[in-house]
């Protein structure tokens, strides 16, 4: 469903991604693993359209979206939960979700998507029931873990077919990580594909169907997560 081919991305003058290629299939959890500064966020931002590509191509559901604006990609079914969660601090959780729900209904995707914005929101609540109890809280007053939940719930409210999660487990206690991993599996069972950026290989190998290892803007490994754990070169690159 997502084909990223030979992309080169710059941040200012710095050449960050060097001919990076990856793909995500229907109903698949793919992890992009690499240490800090490897280029994971840059990859996700490029896919979402927040950074322009210097060259290369991105195809989503058979459509070339390389030049498409980010908000159009969101409407085509890409949900994004960024590293900093991107919750609007002055809006309540309800309002954060309300915008997405409304946009999902207004974008005309509803006819194609199996779920409307409000159904999608119900599905998000079924993954994270906690979010329902937070609806009147302002974004500003959420804890780190709550922000992560709301960010994923909000991305799901847009009825995505692909979820991009950047460091979704960052800063969570180990028990909570397990809780989130269960949530990701549940989301996948709803038929949503997931591309996650993750710096912890152990976490990634717990959920990934397939795994890419990235180092200095290049894919250095691609395949089964268990293979990655055995591959010394990959382990060395991930440790730094």
């Amino acid at each position: 469903m997502l084909e990223v081919t030979q992309i080169n991305t710059f941040r200012g003058p710095a050449h960050i991604l060097h001919g990076l290629t990856l793909s995500v299939n229907e109903q698949e959890v793919v992890c992009l693993v690499g240490r800090n500064g490897a280029g994971k966020t840059t990859t996700i931002d490029s896919i979402m359209g927040l950074l322009p590509l210097r060259s290369g191509q991105i195809v989503f559901h058979g459509e070339n979206i390389t030049g498409l604006a980010a908000h159009m990609r969101a409407r085509r079914g890409m949900g994004y939960a960024p590293e900093d969660c991107g919750i609007f601090p002055e809006l309540t959780v309800e309002e954060n979700l309300m915008i997405s729900r409304w946009l999902a209904n207004a974008s005309g995707r509803v006819k194609e998507a199996a779920f409307t914005g409000s159904d999608a929101q119900e599905r998000a609540f079924s993954v994270f029931p906690e979010v329902r109890t937070l609806t009147h809280r302002e974004g500003l007053h959420l804890s780190g873990g709550q922000k992560k939940m709301v960010a994923i719930a909000r991305a799901m409210t847009l009825s995505p077919s692909l979820l991009l999660l950047d460091e979704a487990f960052e800063g969570l206690a180990p028990a909570v990580v397990t809780r989130f991993i269960d949530a990701v599996i549940k989301i996948k069972e709803m038929g949503i594909s997931i591309l996650m950026a993750e710096s912890n290989l152990a976490n990634a190998s717990r959920i990934a169907d397939r795994l890419y290892a990235i180092d200095r803007g290049e894919i250095i490994f691609h395949g089964d997560p268990k293979e990655a754990l055995k591959n010394e070169e990959v382990m060395k690159a991930l440790r730094g």
Binding site: A69, H71, P89, I99, S100, W102
Partner: protein
């Protein structure tokens, strides 16, 4: 169903307010009634500006243009089409300023922050100069040019008929007052609805973080443009009312100083609270009136107000009042979902 406190708070606030609004023509001297009318009109303009300014986070220094356009359009209509109906004058004024805002807004929303402010200022000043040097009047042929030479860019608007009724001069303002009140209530209602709609929340999201807004699917530039255009509707509405109230429209209403006054009054009231611009507008007009009586220069008052805002009320009057527990309580009860 609401609990009793909500009902009590609403009765406590709305009944005296409603009684005052209805009785103002009887209670106020003719002169004070005009000031009161002007404050209501100025409130509508500030509320309209705040949709772009406080809600979307774009500082416009050119909103005087849409206010002025709302009044001038009707003045030209009266001169050249010989139309005496306030309703037609009013609708043409709103339509003109809406189109103007849509056109200028389309270009301005391509920029953000200081560049946006500069662009709005530039367009506002261009529009202003078209009236100052008479270019607009030339479009209307020799009669237009003669009008310009006689009035130096200002135009006269007679007492128009309201709902087909021709009022006697001394009856006119008390009658027109109710038109203003109706327009004020309608504007507050519509802007409240817009502010609390998902579209309004999306504008706030754009203000808080543009990138975040983009990846949840908000077409940022398009929504900014919508906000700008809607804002123009209310500025035009206010301008048209002003033209009929004052019955004289001058290029002064198009000048950037007037744009700055709109911004100052809005900041004084508080940009983050819905009702802030209304508070600011009333206090601004009140102080302006007092300053006039004590022969304090208008500019000195503006300077003092600016200092007051920066040092004493950085959150605006509404934000400061919100810190008073009793008022805060009533405010919260008022804000509860209606019906």
């Amino acid at each position: 169903m609401h609990d009793a406190r909500v009902v009590a708070a609403r009765i406590l606030v709305l009944v005296p307010a409603g009684a005052w609004v209805l009785l103002a023509p009887a209670a106020l001297s003719p002169y004070l009634l005009i000031i009161w009318c002007y404050a209501l009109i100025f409130s509508i303009a500030c509320l309209g500006l705040n949709l772009v300014f406080g809600t979307t986070g774009l500082l416009s220094l050119g909103h005087a243009a849409y206010f002025g356009a709302g009044a001038y359009a009707g003045a030209f209509l009266y001169r050249f089409a010989d139309i005496h109906s306030f309703e037609v004058y009013f609708l043409v004024g709103i339509l003109t300023s809406t189109l103007l805002a849509a056109g200028i807004g389309f270009l301005c929303v391509r920029a953000t922050k200081i560049h946006f402010a500069i662009l709005t200022l530039a367009f506002g000043q261009i529009f202003h100069s078209l009236f100052i040097d008479g270019a607009i009047f030339r479009l209307f042929g020799p009669l237009g040019w003669a009008l310009y030479l006689v009035g130096e860019g200002s135009m006269y608007i007679p007492r128009l008929t309201i709902l087909g009724i021709e009022f006697e001069p001394e009856e006119f303002i008390p009658a027109f007052y109710y038109v203003i009140v109706f327009a004020f209530c309608a504007s507050v209602f519509l802007l409240w609805r817009i502010n609390h709609s998902p579209f309004g929340k999306a504008l706030r999201a754009i203000r808080d973080n543009q990138t975040r807004a983009v990846y949840i699917g908000i077409p940022v530039r398009q929504y900014r443009w919508y906000a700008f255009t809607i804002s123009g509707v209310f500025l035009g509405l206010a301008g048209a009312l002003y033209g009929q109230l004052d019955r004289q429209i001058t290029p002064e209403q198009l000048d950037w100083l007037f744009s700055a006054e709109l911004v100052l009054a809005t900041v004084l009231g508080g940009t983050r609270d819905f009702i802030g611009p209304v508070l600011g507008a009333f206090v601004f007009i009140g102080l302006d009136e007092i300053a006039g009586r004590w022969a304090i220069g208008h500019n000195i008052m503006m300077g003092l107000l600016l200092m007051l805002v920066v040092f004493v009320f950085p959150r605006g009057l509404a934000g400061t009042l919100d810190l008073v527990p009793g008022i805060r309580k009533v405010g919260l009860l008022m804000k509860r979902k209606w019906l």
